[in-house]
Amino acid sequence: MNQVVEGLAPQRVEAVRRPRLDWPLRRVIGAAMVASLVLLALLGNLVIPGDPLEQHLYRALQGADAVGVSDAGEVITSAPLGYDHLGRSLYHRLVAALGLSLSIAAGAVILAAFSGISLGLLAAGRGGWAERLLSLVADSLLALPGLLLVLMVSVILPSTPLALWLGLSLVLWVEFFRLARATGRSVLASPGVEASRLLGFGAWYRFRHHLWPEMAPVMMTAMAFGMANALMAIAALGFVHVGIPEPTPELGTMMVELLPYWREAPFALLTPVLVTFLLLLGLLLMSGSKARTSTAADTLEGARP
């Protein structure tokens, strides 16, 4: 009896093996980098209060100063990172820009993940024309460069942050849709899901206990990756003057504004550059590059999507 169980054991392990979200050092470092920048965006203004739009022109491009009283008798708010070319506190602009970019990107990823996963599971569950139509829309959206879609939405909608949010969601949902459809197809056809349904468990239970544990690691990777892409797009559009309009602080706009003064104030230009770079690096470390490298192994084994 014992021997029979042992003989079966490897097979059974194979059957219940699930992709787990593990936390190697690389992912921990990435998460720590992102978390500290999110904290900066959330708490930065509470630690050192200040206004990102307030100008002190006589201090333009100067370094950090302490809290004090100016010659004219007005109280100077402290600017720990110095001032930009219009005498605005770099620290407070950075905090505001981070908050704006992060909330747009996070909002876009959440909306994209929600709609992508529900539509993907709908396609996998229903099959037939629903799946074909949804896949056609997803494939066609994939054919249009993401920046182009975001730009087109920005012409249609009056408010830029709203347009960025909806435009980026429109770009990002396709990835979640494809992942959810692929996982859904195999999991929904599995005996476990069938047993659940026969036992009378509802759709939400089946999602929570069968589908989500299977999808979670891939989705987390896709979310971090999508977040990095969204942040990159927001900054790139700001950099070429078609993103969030000035004077609202935004990372890409800050860089292009400070570019002409880079000789006089290299540190001023370096701050938004460094913050953007660290944020993206952190997110990419979090996402891991496994999703990309698997394609090489797949093609070698002759498996085609």
Binding site: S140, L148, H241, L259, F277, L285, R292, A296, T299, G302
Partner: protein, 308 residues
């Protein structure tokens, strides 16, 4: 994907760009007939009669859905209209810019293929070696750097500080180098990793070991048994790289003042020049589908196993 589904995709892309452009046109303030008449005859010759004739000719009287069908009909007849800004035909403008963009994209792709795959091959042959590890670090850093940031660094270092190359411009061969390098470095970072993984996977297979055992040299093994396996993911990825390239072109052209299609797109967005936006979007989307069709065909040539 097979040919019919690619064609369907093509049709869908045209529909979506057309629909989005229609919405853009609707969201512009003012009366469309007056605006188009102004574009055609100039603001001096603009009067109610001209606007009325435009309205009658283009079927602007038609409401809602019918109007949208007219709009799509124009696209399907390849009538993209005239730019609201320059008054030039959209086709003429695009033909002019597309050549510039293609030459830049071609140069970038060429440079990236010279940098990425050879490094990836060397790293993959000795997976885990110092080259492999440092390549991984460099690629990760490059992938975390947005293209506009890379452009910024290159401009500051090479043209402003060292004064070696012009920071912006078009026409001379040296104007190619910086924008093409910026695009190429991002592409090479991905293709190097891809080739490295494929090469490392190939060296672990039984057929590779056998080729070595039967006495083939390193070079012979690579040419006979390695190259095709490495080429397949690279070619498959070229389709996706094209998207990166197009997105890069939109941003990079604006930064380096390159008079290509991406630059035109950003300008058209800025000045709400809908016919130009529609034209450039159509060219980019249709181009993507066609390139992917080519990649499909090429992939099938390289790996006939998947064909039923």
């Amino acid at each position: 994907m097979n040919l019919p589904s690619r064609l369907l995709q093509l049709l869908m892309v045209v529909l979506m760009v057309g629909g989005a452009s229609y919405l853009m046109m609707q969201s512009l303030p003012g009366d469309a007939a007056w605006r188009i008449a102004a574009g055609r005859y100039g603001y001096d010759a603009l009067d109610a009669a001209a606007a009325a004739s435009v309205r009658a000719e283009l079927g602007l009287e038609a409401q809602g859905g019918l109007h949208f069908l007219y709009w799509l009909g124009d696209i399907l007849r390849l009538e993209l209209g005239t730019s609201l800004i320059s008054g030039e035909s959209v086709w003429v403008e695009i033909r002019h810019q597309l050549g510039n963009s293609l030459s830049l994209a071609g140069a970038a792709l060429g440079i990236s293929l010279l940098i990425g795959p050879p490094l990836g091959l060397l790293a993959g042959l000795r997976a885990g070696g110092w080259l492999d590890r440092s390549l991984l670090a460099v690629c990760s850093l490059l992938r975390a750097t947005p293209q506009f940031l890379l452009a910024l660094v290159l401009i500051l270092l090479i043209s402003v500080e060292m004064g070696l190359l012009p920071a912006a411009g078009h026409g001379e061969p040296q104007h190619f180098i910086l924008p093409a390098m910026t695009l190429a470095l991002g592409l090479a970072a991905v293709s190097a990793r891809l080739v490295r993984d494929a090469m490392a996977a190939v060296t672990q297979t039984a057929f590779h070991d056998f080729a070595r055992w039967k006495g083939l040299s390193n070079a012979q093994t690579f040419w006979r048994h390695g190259l095709r396996h490495v080429a397949l993911p690279l070619v498959t990825y070229l389709g996706l790289q094209f998207v990166t390239l197009v997105e890069g072109v939109v941003v990079i052209e604006s930064i380096f003042g390159w008079p290509g299609i991406g630059h035109a797109l950003v300008h058209a967005i800025f000045s709400r020049d809908v016919p130009m936006v529609q034209g450039t979007a159509l060219v980019l989307g249709v181009g993507f589908v066609l390139i992917n069709l080519l990649v499909d065909l090429l992939g099938r040539q390289l790996d006939p196993r998947g064909v039923k």
